[in-house]
Each structure stands twice: as C-alpha cells, then as structure tokens.
Amino acid sequence: MLIRSWERDFNLLAMEEAAHMPYYWAMGLDGSRFFHEIRNSETLIGIRCPKCRKVYVPPRMVCGPCFARMDELVKLGSGGRVDAVTLVNYPFIDPDTGHRRPVPYIYGYIKLDGADNLFSHIIQAPSGVTIKVGDRVRAVFAKEKKGRIQDISYFEPVLK
C-alpha cells in the first residue's frame, strides 16, 4: 500500500504551458477614426461630451459619468503636459509578445493640448534628461502606420 507522506523524497510538480491565443478586438467607429487621422495627417483627435463638455482622448462613443452618447470630434494638439510619470525598471513578461519587455522605459500620463483626460504612452528622453510631472512633451509618429497605438512611436520632451 502507498501511503501519502511528506517523508518520501520527491519533488512537487507543476505543468508548464504557454498558450498563444489570437484575438480580434473591434475599435468601433471612433477608435478607428483616431488611427485614420494619424495615418492621414498625423493629427490626434478627441471627442466632446454634450452634457459635461469634457473632451476625451482616445475618442469613444459614451461618456461614462454622464452615460451620454458623444458625436462631436475635436482636433487636439500633438503636444501636452506630463501629469504622472514613472521609470519602469523591473523585468516582466509582455502578454502581447510572450517575451520580456525591454526595460528601463519611461511610461506616463499626458494631458494632450485640448483634452480633459489623460493619454497613456511611453516617453523617450535623451540620456541624462529626466522626465518630471509638469514637463512638456510631444508625439513622435511612426513612419509606417498600421492602425495601432504604436503609430505614435513615443512622446519626447520639448526641451527649453
């Protein structure tokens, strides 16, 4: 008879699995339009709520707090102010690729000119330049536009 016991000399086992599972996430009318405007004229757009007048970026159909449908697209500046920022310096698996994302990189929330909420993206700064809350940054667009967030390659500091 086998007895379940801790005295036995064996390793506890775990099974490893790394599954690749393709998804197709619809961007809707407004999300699609955002990337079309970048491809056509490197312009960023937002959308205004008819009730609270807040301008959201990226544009979306509904203002959550008001539960109101939005229609009025608004042209935004491609520059803005850093409202919150950090330097990411620890290794982790990027679920988009299944591999470690290269670190360090700067990640921030940017108040784009003309928008009332924040836009999240990475920030690239020349070596020796630190990015602080309140700094001005501007979008740098990718040469090849594919209809995805990386069509904005990164934001860069506007050096005084």
């Binding site: 679920p95 994302r101 999240s120 993206h121």
Partner: protein
C-alpha cells in the same frame, strides 16, 4: 433596507510565495475548513456560496463549478464574482447581500489566488485595454508609481514617509502566523531596497502570494445563537468607475473618498479617526498608506505623514492600521480584500491572538482594485 447580518466565522490558509503542496481546489478547501471550524458549523449549515479570484492568474474558467470540491458547493447555490483587487471585498459584500435579502441564513464567501501559477505582472497587463493601454502599461507597480509621482509632487511627500508605512505593516506581520512575509523591516531597509519603478522600491510594494480566505455571513436570527461575539455588518459601499487609465485622477482617490463617505454616513460615523478602533486597509504599496488615509478622511490632504510618524496607526496607537501586516505582507490577490474583512471580524470577535487590538467595537475594512476603484465596509460589536 436589508436584514441585519453578522460574520460568525473566518478561516485563512498559511500564505506563501508558492504553495505547490496543494492545487487551487485544495488551497480553497484549507480556508473553508478553517472558517467552518471557527464558526463551529459544518458544510450542511451553509446555504449558499460566493467565490472569487482573477481568472487570468491561473487560466481557470468557471471557477464557481471548477472549485466545488474545495468550496463545498456541490449541488448548492454558488456564484462567482470577479472584480480585480476588490474581488475579496466584493465576494464579502455579495455574501452580505445574500443574507441581508432574507433568503439565506449562512453564506460562505471565498477569495483565493495562486499567483505562483503565472507571471503576475504579465497577467495584470491583460486587464488593461488591448488597443489603447496594453502597449505602454506594465502592470500594477508602475500604475501605482505614477499615482505616487503625482501625490509627492503636490504635497512634498518623501520616499522616507512611504517607507515608514512598510516598516509599520511588516512589523505588525511578525504577530501573524498566517502572513507570507513575517520578518520586520526598517525604514532604512526599505530605502536601501532596489528601485523597481520610480519612486517604488522592492520593499514599497506587496508580494505575490498563494492563499485563500473564507468568511461566513449569518442572519440575525442565527448569529447570536451560534456565535458569542458576532461581528455585525454596519455598512458597505461599492464604488467602481471606469477602466480607462487616462480618465483616472491621479491626485484625488475619488472612488475611495466616495466609498468612505458612504459607509461613514450609513453607520453614522462623524469623526472616523476618533470613533474607529482599528482598520484593515487594502494598501498594496507604501504610498497608499499616506494618500489613501487622506482619501478616507482620517486627516486633511497632505497631513498623513504626521499621523504616521506620530505612531497613531501603529499597534498601541489610537487607530492601529493593519495589525495583520496588511497587503504589504500578504497578497493572494482574490483573497487579499477578504482577508481585510476576516481580520476585522476576528478583531471584533476577540480572536486575533497576538495581533489583537484590545476592545475593538467599531472597525473598517477596504478593498482596492484595478484602475483605482474601491469597496469599504464598517463592522461593529454592537447590533446595528
């Protein structure tokens, strides 16, 4: 208005970085058995079950049915509730709703996680919007770091202030035999730990743990018959907003302000710092022990460091915070917020052993999740 409800039992596993001696079901069963023992009930007494975790940490779906061997829900009413970090408080509040409705006498709320079964940060990134946020987002630590950056800039808060929060919670954890990290750390050790994402260092952030918790909610008619000192639910609040990272106000913690205001109003608490006897707060990183104290209303904005350095929130202070060691010592995500509720219940029941705060009559538990949403509960020794 719902019926009165009390907590009559609480059980938790011994938490650690990797519980490979048990699978998820067996881990859940460990907490459930301890909760039943604590309440002196058997599974036969349990009328319904609410369970929660975060699906993508283990890659397990339909956790409600998958877990019946662990939860005891075989052919019983069971619902799964998953709300990110707040999962634990949400299962607690859902358990409360079940009993408050008058339809069930004893309801078991379970939260669990085996964080060792995946890359926690990778899994958390899958919570962010795949089109807009996932490319730049790097998990919970940086999203908390950006909050800290905005808060520090506004009030001149220092990394040392935050380190004192870790030192407090980790010192408290020494008294908790279930905690994952049971060694005390000093402010200097926190300051010397390696920088993960500015300004958060290794010891400013919670660990990732394997663990489970179970709490039993009982109707007014039964509670005092089965439990000499039940912990009564005085008020609850759920405040969940949006998942657009760019819509978050990184200066204010609006969801927690709103949840706290609501539970205090419902429980008729006007001066929380004076009236509450202790708290178990979901503080996943050290800076939350400053900024979120202000959001709750324990002090005006920018003044939390004084409360902290004066020892008000230490064991022996006027308002001990996290006698269990809190989230900075144990973080089995789906169980984390339920541990806050269970620990508060045990404080009121006088069962907190070495981490007991003397004479707890009124106390608070909170949950925190995802894009800065919040749950809050007030528990008391007196029938509300």
């Amino acid at each position: 208005m719902g019926k009165r409800v009390a907590i009559t039992g609480f059980g938790q596993t011994h938490h650690s970085a990797r519980r490979w001696d048990v699978n998820g079901l067996e881990l859940i069963q460990e907490a459930v058995t301890r909760a039943l023992t604590d309440a002196e009930l058997t599974l036969k007494d349990i009328d319904a079950i609410v369970i929660g975790n975060m699906d993508h940490f283990e890659g397990i779906n339909y956790v409600d049915t998958w877990s019946v061997e662990g939860s005891g829900a075989f052919l019983k009413p069971i619902f799964k509730v998953t709300t990110g970090g707040t999962t634990g408080t949400t299962v607690a509040i859902a358990g409360y709703y079940h009993v408050a409705s008058g339809m069930f006498d004893n309801v078991l709320a379970i939260g669990w996680e085996k964080n060792s079964e995946s890359d926690t940060t990778g899994a958390i990134i899958t919570c962010s919007d795949p089109i807009w946020d996932r490319f730049s987002y790097s998990g919970a630590i940086p999203s908390l770091a950006v909050e800290a950056s905005a808060y520090m800039t506004r009030f001149g808060i220092t990394e040392r202030d935050a380190a004192r929060v870790t030192a407090r919670d980790r010192t408290h954890a020494v008294n908790n035999p279930y905690a994952h990290l049971r060694t005390a750390v000093t402010v200097e050790e926190v300051m010397r730990s390696s920088m993960l994402t500015d300004p958060i260092k290794l010891l400013d952030i919670c660990p990732r743990s394997d663990g489970a918790a179970a709490v039993i909610f009982t109707s007014e008619e039964k509670a005092e018959k089965i439990c000499p000192k039940p912990a009564w639910i005085h008020s609850v609040s759920v405040r969940h907003d949006t998942t657009w990272f760019g819509d978050i106000d990184y200066v204010q913690m609006g969801s927690l302000e709103s949840a706290a205001r609501e539970v205090f109003r419902l429980a008729d608490i006007r001066e929380p710092l004076k009236e509450l006897d202790m708290c178990e707060l979901y503080l996943p990183y050290s800076f939350a022990g400053l900024k979120w104290m202000e959001a709750i209303g324990f002090c005006p904005p920018g003044e939390a460091p004084k409360l902290l350095w004066d020892g008000v929130t230490d064991m022996g202070g006027n308002l001990p915070v996290n006698p269990s060691g809190g989230v900075l010592s144990t973080n089995c995500i789906g169980a984390t917020a339920l541990l806050r509720v269970g620990e508060v219940a045990h404080q009121i029941m006088g069962k907190a052993d070495k981490r007991q705060v003397p004479g707890v009559r009124l106390a608070m538990a909170t949950g925190f999740g995802g894009c800065f949403w919040s749950d809050a509960l007030i528990l008391g020794a007196e029938r509300p």
